[in-house]
């Protein structure tokens, strides 16, 4: 197979996001990741809904489809069912996936169709110029709620784990290395791989994630989970997470008799999602925010199940072609 580079995946279209938008970093990380996947260029599809983020497919030199607001999971499902050999990447925003498209989003996760979903969460509607979204922090003032929102936000992790998501990862747009690593893992995972990207919208919701991504705080405000490794963070990796009764707690190794052996070891493969949900819910200032692959469990995929059913039916076929069906059963001759 030809060796591909990031250039092979850049289309000739001018990129039109605002200068400084977090989307640029994600695009670059994706263009660098695809050559690592050992797949043919013509086997990728980028499918999106509507929003700033959903312009993404135009900038990728692959097959692409910029569809309608909120419905990308449905298009992606049809694509994967029609051709299970394709590598399908869905690009969606927090409004696209969780407001108008909430229904399709949860059903894709529930079915576990083998696609990858990149959720660009900027906690705002970018394209329509700054209205609050289902992930906006309660109370923020936007054009559509100048007195502060009264909407309770929901968290993508709780929603998707509730919908039986088999793969949930999180990353910040300021960490291209981790993005690449996660994209590669997402593609390897069989089933719906959901990646929440905390993405900065410089224009309408600047610094909404600054308590996590800020240069000055990030060492204590982020932790990167790795399966099978103790959950550590901090500038010298001397801080960790323990489970005390039914709650997570932060500890410092060496203080109060805590040793490395007390630290929780991350198990992304555990079917029970309770701990995954608890880890994903952690937020500064009490906790660092969890990044990396939080959950990655084996579960049969919708496309595979459907295709095995079809194969089985074909093997035991009553009719091998349509004519046999048309002339079957009760017929008579005139």
């Amino acid at each position: 197979m030809e060796k591909l580079t990031n250039k092979d995946f850049s289309s000739d279209q001018e990129v039109r996001w605002c200068p400084g938008c977090g989307d640029y970093a994600i695009l670059r990380a994706m263009q660098k990741s695809l050559p690592l996947l050992n797949r043919k260029k013509e086997d990728f599809i980028f499918i999106s809904g509507i929003g700033c983020s959903s312009r993404f497919p135009y900038y990728m030199d692959t097959y692409g489809f910029h569809s309608i607001h909120g419905r990308a999971p449905a298009f992606a499902t049809g694509m994967k069912l029609a051709n299970p050999n394709l590598s399908i990447w869905q690009i969606t925003g927090d409004g696209d996936a969780l407001a108008i498209g909430g229904n399709h989003f949860i059903h894709a996760l529930r079915r576990n169709i083998d696609i990858n979903i990149l959720l660009f969460n900027n906690e705002i509607y970018g394209l329509t110029k700054g209205q609050f979204s289902p992930t906006s922090k309660k109370g923020i003032k936007t054009k559509s709620n100048p007195h502060g929102t009264t909407d309770e936000p929901f968290s993508p992790s709780d929603l998707s784990l509730g919908a039986k998501s088999s793969f949930f990862a999180r990353v910040v747009d300021t960490n291209p290395k981790l993005m690449q690593k996660i994209f590669v893992e997402a593609e390897a995972h069989k089933g719906t791989s959901l990646i929440e990207i905390m993405q900065n919208c410089v224009i309408f919701n600047d610094k909404t994630f600054s308590s996590i991504t800020g240069k000055d705080v990030k060492k204590d405000a982020q932790l990167t989970l790795e399966h099978g490794k103790p959950i550590l963070y901090g500038a010298t990796m001397n801080k960790g997470i323990i489970l005390n009764k039914f709650k997570l707690e932060t500890v410092i190794i060496g203080e109060n008799g805590i040793t490395i052996d007390d630290i929780l070891v991350h198990d992304a493969y555990e079917q029970d999602s309770t701990l995954h949900a608890m880890l994903a819910r952690m937020r500064p200032p009490e906790f660092p925010a969890a990044l990396g692959v939080i959950r990655s469990v084996k579960r049969s995929t919708f496309d595979n199940d459907m295709n095995s059913q079809i194969d089985h039916e074909k093997k035991n076929a009553k009719f091998n072609n349509v004519n046999e069906l048309l002339f079957s059963g009760d017929t008579w001759n005139v």
């Binding site: 289309s11 279209q13 043919k40 260029k41 013509e42 086997d43 599809i45 499918i47 509507i50 497919p57 135009y58 990728m60 030199d61 692959t62 097959y63 692409g64 489809f65 910029h66 569809s67 309608i68 419905r71 999971p73 449905a74 298009f75 992606a76 499902t77 049809g78 694509m79 069912l81 029609a82 051709n83 050999n85 394709l86 229904n103 399709h104 059903h107 459907m306 059913q309 079809i310 039916e313 074909k314 035991n316 076929a317 009553k318 009719f319 091998n320 072609n321 349509v322 004519n323 069906l325 048309l326 002339f327 059963g329 009760d330 017929t331 008579w332 001759n333 005139v334």
Partner: protein, 617 residues
Amino acid sequence: MQSKIMNNPKVVDLEKVVIKFAGDSGDGMQLTGTQFTDTSALLGNDLATFPDYPAEIRAPQGTVAGVSGFQIHIGSIDINTPGDIADVLVAMNPAALKANKNFIKKGGSIIINIDSFNQRDFEKAGYKQSPLEDNSFEGYNLIEAPITKLTRETLKDSKLDGKSIGRAKNMFALGIVYWMFNRPMQQTESFLKTKFKKSPDLVEANIKVMHAGYNFADTIEALSSSYTVLSAKLPKGTYRNVMGNQAMSWGFLAAAENAKKELFLGSYPITPASDILHELAKHKNLGVKTFQAEDEIAGVCSAIGASFCGSLAITTTSGPGLALKGEGIGLAIMTELPLVVVDVQRGGPSTGLPTKTEQSDLMQALYGRNGESPAVVLASSTPANCFDWAYQASKITLEHNTPVILLSDGYLGNGAEPWKIKSTNDMPKINPNVAREGDDYLPYARDKKILSRKIAIPGTKGLEHRLGGLEKEDITGNVSYDPENHEKMCKIRSEKINRLSNIIPEQKIYGNESGNLLVIGWGGTFGSLYSAVDTLLKDENSVGLCHFNYINPLPRNTKEILSKFNRIVVCELNAGQFANYLRMNFQGFVFEQYNKLQGFPFTSIELESHFKLLLSK
């Protein structure tokens, strides 16, 4: 198939007969009717059926609202409608009698389950006292059969529980009617053996009860004679009985096979369209992929996704679902991808009359989307030709790369008729318009004649490109906000559909090619319009019938036809949508209207008398 030898000396030949089975929703009348249909079809009768049932699965028992009916018209002559009024009514309870009392021919036979004619059931049906006692059924041949009692008696030694025994009474009624019309019972026997394969007791009980009904009819004196309806003189060929939704499903299967495509259906259940999903879901062995989506929007969008990836993709629904699919269809129009959207229409607006028929989604199909978004619109017109129109819709969408909306309706979808089976080898070829590896591919370059662009399927090396709902630049397909380009693209999308009229056949007229009255119809009303016009033609009236299947574009000779008649009447089961569409397209003609919005098909009689009136003025 051989007819059972009868010992009844009085056997009368009938040209045609209308029979209606009516009972409570739980009485199994749909099954009874279907059995009578299948048996009659095998005997070579021409036929048409009309199942009519409440929207509720088990509406309040014994009430008029809960009556489920199945009407069948069989004949040794050409049969085009399920019949206006019944020659024979089977009424399993007083409510069934009440619901149908105006639809029985004077002097016709009424078989009632007398065991259900008690005070309690009279009250449930809204009768103060027995309807049998007030002369209202004088002049009818009333057959009072103790169906419940004799069913129980027949099964007194059966191992079945009381409930299952009670349920078998529809077979008693079926037995009576089989005797009346000299039909053999083997077909139903073998049906029962398959249906209750797992429960031999049920098979035995049902067969026994059917025979008991048959013998009862043979014995009692209430029936002075039995009737036969000889086989119809149909063109040579192999026949089977089909229902509209089934024929539709099979048309898509045939199209996919001939186009060498996989068939993909994205759908969400809705009456009366669900049977297409049910039927196609059975045929995984033919490679069909059916996806029951989370809603209608996901249904159409998954189909568009599958179409992009090379399937023959369809989505099926009824009116409320079509409303939800609007935005998705617009995207398929913008991206110029193949897609067939089937709307099996029902009474609206809103939830409307889910189980009743209507033709009121025409405007929605033509215009129910934002922007200038023309789609090809076709309509099937008999249960059996749903097959042909599904095939034709697929052919057009794959060859022209533009979405097609195919209108059927509840009457067609659930109705049945004999179908001369077509072999897939005898159908027109389908040549999908697809770009191949190595082509110099420009996504929005198009064929000069038919104006269709080529599609390139993911997985094809070197043809990577992006599609989407934003306006496309002509030829390159890049996003474009250029004002002139937008206007040009709007015109291209509309002209592409207009040019189809060069390819589709000319509109035919049945009856006189010119004259006094032109009757116009479209879609599911064909049978009743044809019967009415046929009767008028026999009396040498100057009348022609022009029945449309191509709605957008209209056949190229439409105007010519309109100009050959003095008077035009457009008949449809809505408030005049096609009439308005014709007014818009053909100014200078007067289109009179004949409309009905009652959830039922036209009767031939009402049409006939209206046409006579028009002809006499």
